[in-house]
């Protein structure tokens, strides 16, 4: 295969998206569905075929020149390198399985063309982010995924709250996008290029102060897309979308785009210590914040949404601790186990008769197909970080990187990470116990689960469980495959003595066990939920919506009201209307002069004539005086 055919990877989903959007409703339903799935599956197969091109320095393919004016030289170019290739493989692979799942999930939905069109378009935009050679193409994809996310969260837009959730996601992420755009323009001003590899090469020559500001701007941009503090309010509400969308966009791929961006520009970001500390701090705070929120959530998908936020916080911590490998490793394993958790949650909701509340579930292990429990449990143990699962190794790598960081303040972040791990284990098993253990407490009638919704869970669950093989630490006889694959892109090599590593592993195991026992003790036998101030506070995500409302929305509304009724209506409109009324009143006097009768005008002529005559006479008299 020639390298010039690399462009087929993003093109396939794009073509399917366009066809589905334009003609989808006229095509037979089966055809539209098969096309949507094969478009993404084709991209997946192509990525495997092209894998060799990613080795070494990677392959750069210019598709066509987009802008070329003076110093601006932007082309639609792809950079298929060591960082992009695993991510591409993960996105297309997970997306294929989720598309298959979506065929089953949406089979009673009439608007399938819009759904699959947007889903395919999302895959295209995500691939544009991953494969972009310059930041402008990346930004295009960045906005593209935001648009698709908006359209898919509000997919059932007839319900107002869904449409509102979509708008909220769009607007909050847009705040981050503004910072990203500023960072982009600033980078162009500082380096004269938008090419990612050139920017990374020139990073050392940018003045240190600017680098700090740039990394903070990039961090804020990443925060918007990845739902990190302070731009995290949208993700929990985004669960209003269909479950395949939550699995694909709001768990596996789009929310990790921020991490990928920071990894892409890691040579630039890693220069400033302040920036790195800020990234770690944001990640740590978000991880802890989201984990506490997840403990009190009642809706199954919201628990998972907060856990996503928390896990993406771990990835930020990894970037901040200087290990790209750690971040990408956790990104990949998280994509697998979180996708499977979401998809299994979709099945659970189906079985519970569209019931979201975990307190009204229970006994699902016996109610549904037996494998559902096992795949959900597989995802859950990965999320909780049970030893030997994928999530265990990736999370452990991050905690190790934090612990061994030369800067002692990172010990604080490590401590937060450990505390978050404890909470994660607790809320994960709380979820498992509440949903699957005990007796059925709900009222809904189960829907049948189609075959397409069942078997895509297996490969993902398996990948999540054995995901640790990707980057097995040398300690347990692994070869750190991912770390070697990234080579010079991998960031700081995390080295620690065996005793430290064993100690940390022992600690992590103890933490997970503690979390599990706590959940077991509290939720093994069902007890109705306790409502108090703390649980309400956590349920509402630390009242973040109210805070945003107080800090931003209300002052803004007040300002708008002042501008509209205070300034515009009273001051400007009042003055102008007063002037107009005065003019009308005085014009009424003048109107009386216009009688419309010729005789009036004639006598006016005569009077004028008389005045003129008098004036001339006066001049004559005066002239005679001289």
């Amino acid at each position: 295969m020639s390298e010039s055919l690399l462009f087929l990877i993003p093109l396939l989903p794009l073509c399917c998206a366009v066809i589905n959007m334009l003609f989808g409703m006229r095509l037979p339903r089966l055809f539209a569905e098969i096309m949507a799935v094969t478009g993404v599956a084709g991209a997946f197969l192509l990525t495997i075929l092209f894998w060799g091109y990613a080795e070494g320095e990677g392959t750069r393919v210019v598709i066509f020149t987009w802008l070329n004016s003076g110093a601006v030289d932007v082309s639609f170019a792809m950079n298929f390198d060591r960082l992009a290739a695993p991510m591409t493989l993960m996105v297309t692979g997970v997306a294929t399985l989720i598309h298959l799942y979506a065929v089953g999930y949406m089979h009673e939905e009439n608007d399938y063309a819009r759904f699959f069109g947007l889903l395919n378009l999302f895959v295209f935009a995500m691939l544009a982010i991953i494969l972009a050679d310059n930041l402008l193409v990346l930004f295009l994809g960045w906005e593209g995924v935001g648009l698709c996310s908006y359209g898919l969260i509000g997919f059932w837009y007839r319900k107002l709250e869904n449409a509102k959730a979509g708008t909220k996601a769009f607007l909050v992420t847009r705040v981050g996008d503004v910072f990203l755009a500023i960072a982009l323009l600033w980078l162009f001003a500082a380096t004269g290029t938008l090419n990612i590899s050139e920017i990374n090469a020139q990073a050392a020559s940018i003045s240190p102060g600017v680098v700090i500001v740039l990394s903070l701007l990039l961090l804020l941009g990443a925060c918007g897309k990845s739902a990190q503090l302070p731009l995290m309010t949208w993700l929990a509400d985004a669960m209003a979308g269909p479950t395949p969308v939550s699995a694909l966009i709001h768990a596996a791929t789009m929310v990790t785009a921020g991490v990928y961006l920071l990894c892409r520009l890691f040579p630039l970001v890693s220069i400033s210590t302040v920036g790195m500390t800020a990234i770690t701090a944001i990640g740590a705070l978000t991880a802890l914040y989201a984990a506490t929120c997840a403990m009190a959530q009642r809706e199954i998908k919201r628990v998972l949404a907060y856990s996503t936020m928390s896990q993406v916080g771990y990835m930020f911590m990894a970037v901040g601790a200087g290990t790209v490998t750690g971040a990408m490793f956790h990104l990949l394993t998280h994509a697998f186990f979180k996708a499977v958790l979401f998809m299994a949650a979709g099945c659970v909701i189906h079985l519970a008769g569209d019931e979201n509340d975990i307190y009204k579930m229970g006994g699902m292990a016996r109610r549904g197909p037996v494998e559902l429990f096992w795949v959900f449990l597989a995802g859950a143990v990965c999320l909780a970080g049970l030893p030997l699962t994928g999530g265990f190794f990736s999370k452990d790598g991050i905690l190790l990187a934090l612990f061994t960081h030369p800067d002692p303040t990172y010990r604080v972040f490590w401590l937060i990470g450990v505390l978050t791990a404890l909470l994660t284990a607790f809320y994960t098993f709380r979820l498992v116990y509440l949903v699957f253990a005990g007796e059925w407490r709900g009222t809904g009638h189960p829907h049948a689960i189609p075959l397409q919704m069942r078997w895509p869970l297996w490969p993902l669950a398996l990948l999540g469980l054995i995901g640790g093989m990707l980057n097995l630490p040398a300690l347990v006889g692994g070869d750190e495959m991912l770390h070697h694959w990234y080579g010079d892109l991998a960031g700081r090599a995390v080295t620690a003595s065996h005793s430290t590593e064993w100690m940390l592993i022992g600690f992590a195991v103890a933490i997970v066990a503690l979390g599990w026992f706590a959940a077991h003790w509290r939720y093994r036998n069902y007890r109705p939920p306790v409502e108090n101030r703390v649980s309400r506070f956590l349920l509402n995500g630390w009242q973040s919506d109210a805070l945003v409302d107080c800090l931003l929305v209300r002052p803004f509304t007040a300002m708008a009201r002042f501008c509209s009724s205070g300034c515009d209506r009273s001051l400007f409109d009042g003055t102008l209307e007063g002037l107009a009324k005065m003019a009308t009143r005085y014009s009424a006097l003048l109107v009386q002069l216009a009688t419309g009768r010729a005789t009036t005008y004639l006598s006016a002529f005569a009077w004028g004539f008389l005045v003129l005559l008098g004036w001339f006479l006066l001049k004559l008299v005066n002239g005679g005086g001289h």
């Binding site: 109107v591 009386q592 009688t595 419309g596 010729a598 004639l602 006598s603 005569a606």
Partner: protein
Amino acid sequence: MMIPFGHALSFAAALFVLGLTCVLLRRQVIMILIGVEIMLNAASLVFVSASAYWQQVDGQVFVILLMAITAAEVAVALAMVVYLWRRKRTLVADEFNGMSG
């Protein structure tokens, strides 16, 4: 025998005032038009007498022009009189106040 310029001017002024009085006081459109004609003739008289006084031919040329214009004006004005009559069956000028503000 030359009529003195002052006499001619005085006569013309008297004629003009008579015409103006007619225009202002009469209510019939036709009478107003006749008043206008008288005022125009007064003006013509001033032109002719001034031309004779200064021995310049320009004034007489202008009077010929004025006659032609007057003829045209009368033609238009009378046509309008006919039209006005048809519209309201009256020629009292104050009845036509359609342009009232």
